[in-house]
């Protein structure tokens, strides 16, 4: 279960992983180093201002391009725990789930919220709303398997659990 409150970071369509974390920073696997350069290719403010509870609201095909998992790590480094996009590129979507990030496909959120809006997200009620109560969008539940993985806290705990069950 996830509840978060923060600001909206709004991005358009086809945000690729080279914009989220450029390849030139990938020699260093330290999450803090990656976070420092998050979204460098597309936002001047994200890396200095993004804070825990913030939510990314994006257009279609978010995270297209490279399979680099560091794209999720860089965002998570700022405490971003949820991304709401019109659609996701498939490898980014899987990486996000596998690292325990809540990812929602929503056709409406992108047109309803503006960059900087203060919002709250409740994963139990599947609801994204502005804190002033003026706008609200219901999010479709994540598909079963991704939901199970995210609810476990990511793929590692999820697989550990399966391995334990098999032993028993």
């Amino acid at each position: 279960m996830l509840t978060c409150e923060g600001r909206v970071w709004k991005f358009g369509d086809d945000v690729n992983t080279d914009l989220i974390i450029p390849g030139r920073y990938l020699d260093n696997y330290d999450p803090d180093h990656l976070a420092k350069h998050a979204m460098e290719g597309i936002s001047k403010d994200f890396a200095s201002e993004a804070s825990p509870g913030d939510v990314i609201v994006a257009g279609s095909n978010f995270g297209c391009g490279s399979s680099r998992e560091q794209a999720v790590v860089a965002l998570r480094g700022h405490g971003v725990k949820a991304i709401v996009a019109v659609s996701f590129a498939r490898i980014f979507y899987r990486n996000a789930i596998n690292l325990g990030m809540h990812v929602y496909q929503s056709p409406e959120a992108h047109s309803m919220f503006a960059d900087g809006d203060v919002i709250s997200l409740d994963s139990e009620k599947n609801r994204l709303r502005s804190v002033d109560g003026s706008r609200e969008v219901m999010l479709a539940d994540m598909p079963t398997r991704p939901r199970e993985i995210v609810d476990s806290g990511g793929l590692i705990p999820y697989v550990k659990h399966i391995m334990l069950e098999r032993k028993v």
């Binding site: 086809d14 690729n16 080279d18 914009l19 450029p22 390849g23 030139r24 990938l26 020699d27 260093n28 696997y29 460098e40 290719g41 279609s60 095909n61 297209c64 391009g65 490279s66 399979s67 680099r68 998992e69 560091q70 999720v72 659609s87 590129a89 498939r90 490898i91 899987r94 990486n95 596998n98 690292l99 398997r145 990511g154 793929l155 590692i156 697989v159 550990k160 399966i162 391995m163």
Partner: protein, 423 residues
């Protein structure tokens, strides 16, 4: 009941559910798994399972290609750690610095077979579709989960079938077909789908050319791309000549999400850029753009036939003053063949620089990082802002022949002026 696509057949077999259809979610066991420098991250995640080695070390391929030879101390340390990991875990299919690009080695060293499921910790794992395998990209943590259990979940994709009629015109290469297709489908036009290249036109396209098509499918969002088994495979691997091709081809009555019929004569030498792969148009629309760096190489276009095409343009010509030409053969074997054919000599005499086999400057790590304001024309697959260095550099994508012609001219240039032979 309608017939089945090759994607349905391969994933169904990998899951032990031969009746699987598009939309089914399956637990699959891959035949081959591959990771590169990110094996470092795979291992860090894998350590959390407290296991000694992957479920099947003989199915694991590890290649050092992205920052190879090491570009920084950090990379060198990661390489050293990966060498220690593969030794300790008994991973024998390990390819160290200078052997070549992972996707190239999977095909060239015949580490994949038609009909297999290949999962790679790299988005261009789709490339192995050129030899009738289903290759999909995943991330490092998911790879660690597979190392632990031998399994992951996959949704069986719907398939978009691509056919083509007619004949390609002079100086039009598979890369031009791919850029043309990307311009029609867009960056998410094949999201979550399998792209199946099919039909008589494939007989004119080598395994190398099919690798270009399957590689670039990733730029349209495809989960996998496949050129089903046919007689061309016999030359690639004699044992595949007697392959039960029914397992590696779609049934005639298979159902498709969409069928796209290309007309070869509609496709001319293409250039795409900057920033968006789907922005491809005819090369003539780009001809005034000055070029600082021309790059030939990568999993897309660093093979022997690519270097040969470039050498046809370069023979007897010189790279323009103020322009640099970098060439990274896709593997040691490509380099060796190109050397014995005189292709490397031609490139050197024209003023080109040969880089070690590997990914080269494609991902902006080293060996040709772009300065602010520079323009690069590249035979690679991505022209995303900032990918090859400065965010203020511009990257254009094209075939190796167009890249070579542009290097000689010093501006983006139509390769038809330089290739007067029928290809």
């Amino acid at each position: 009941m309608s017939g089945r696509t090759v994607a349905e057949k391969i994933l169904g077999r990998a899951a032990g559910k031969p009746g699987a259809k598009a939309g089914d979610v399956l637990e699959v066991t891959p035949d081959v798994v591959m990771s590169h420098e990110n094996t470092f991250l795979v291992d860090k995640a894998f350590e959390q399972f407290d296991l000694e080695r992957p479920w099947a070390p003989d199915k694991v391929v590890v290649v050092l290609d992205h920052r190879s030879p090491a570009n920084t101390v950090q990379t060198a340390n990661a390489h050293a750690r990966i060498r220690e990991i593969v030794r300790r875990m008994g991973i024998e299919r390990f390819y160290d610095v200078g052997e070549g690009v992972c996707h190239q080695l999977l095909v060239e060293k015949k580490l994949v077979r038609p009909g297999q499921l290949v999962l790679g910790a790299d988005s261009h794992t789709t490339t192995v579709g050129a030899v009738g395998a289903f290759g999909a990209g995943i991330g490092a943590t998911e790879m660690a989960g597979i190392w632990a259990t031998g399994e992951t979940w996959l949704k069986v994709p719907e398939t978009i079938k691509i056919t083509m009629t007619g004949h390609l015109e002079r100086a039009v290469f598979p890369k031009d077909i791919a850029l043309y297709l990307a311009s029609r489908l867009g960056p998410s036009g094949a999201d979550y789908m399998c792209m199946e290249f099919s039909g008589i036109f494939l007989f004119d396209i080598s395994i190398s050319g099919r690798m270009v098509l399957c590689n670039m499918a990733a730029e349209m969002g495809a989960k996998a791309a496949i050129a089903p088994a046919d007689s061309t495979f016999g030359a690639w691997s004699p044992e595949c000549a007697s392959l039960n091709s029914g397992a590696c081809t779609s049934d005639p009555d298979a159902s498709y999400h969409d069928i796209i019929e290309l007309v070869a004569e509609d496709i001319s030498p293409m250039v795409s850029g900057p920033d968006r792969v789907e922005s491809g148009r005819g090369v003539e629309e780009f001809e005034d753009i000055e070029v600082d760096q021309a790059f030939i190489g990568t999993c897309t276009n660093g093979r022997l036939e690519d270097l040969i095409a470039a050498s046809w343009v370069l023979k007897g010509n010189k790279v323009a003053t103020g322009t640099r030409l970098l060439v990274a053969p896709a593997s040691k074997s490509v380099l060796s063949d190109a050397l014995s054919m005189g292709v490397i000599q031609t490139i050197l005499e024209a003023g080109g620089t040969i880089l070690p086999p590997g990914c080269g400057p494609c991902l902006g790590a080293h060996e040709g990082v772009l300065a602010s304001g520079e323009v690069c024309i590249s035979s690679s697959n991505r022209n995303f802002k900032g990918r090859m260095g400065s965010e203020d550099a511009k990257i254009f994508l094209a075939s190796p022949a167009t890249v070579a012609a542009s290097a000689v001219k010093g501006r983006i240039e139509d390769p038809r002026r330089w290739l007067n032979v029928d290809l």
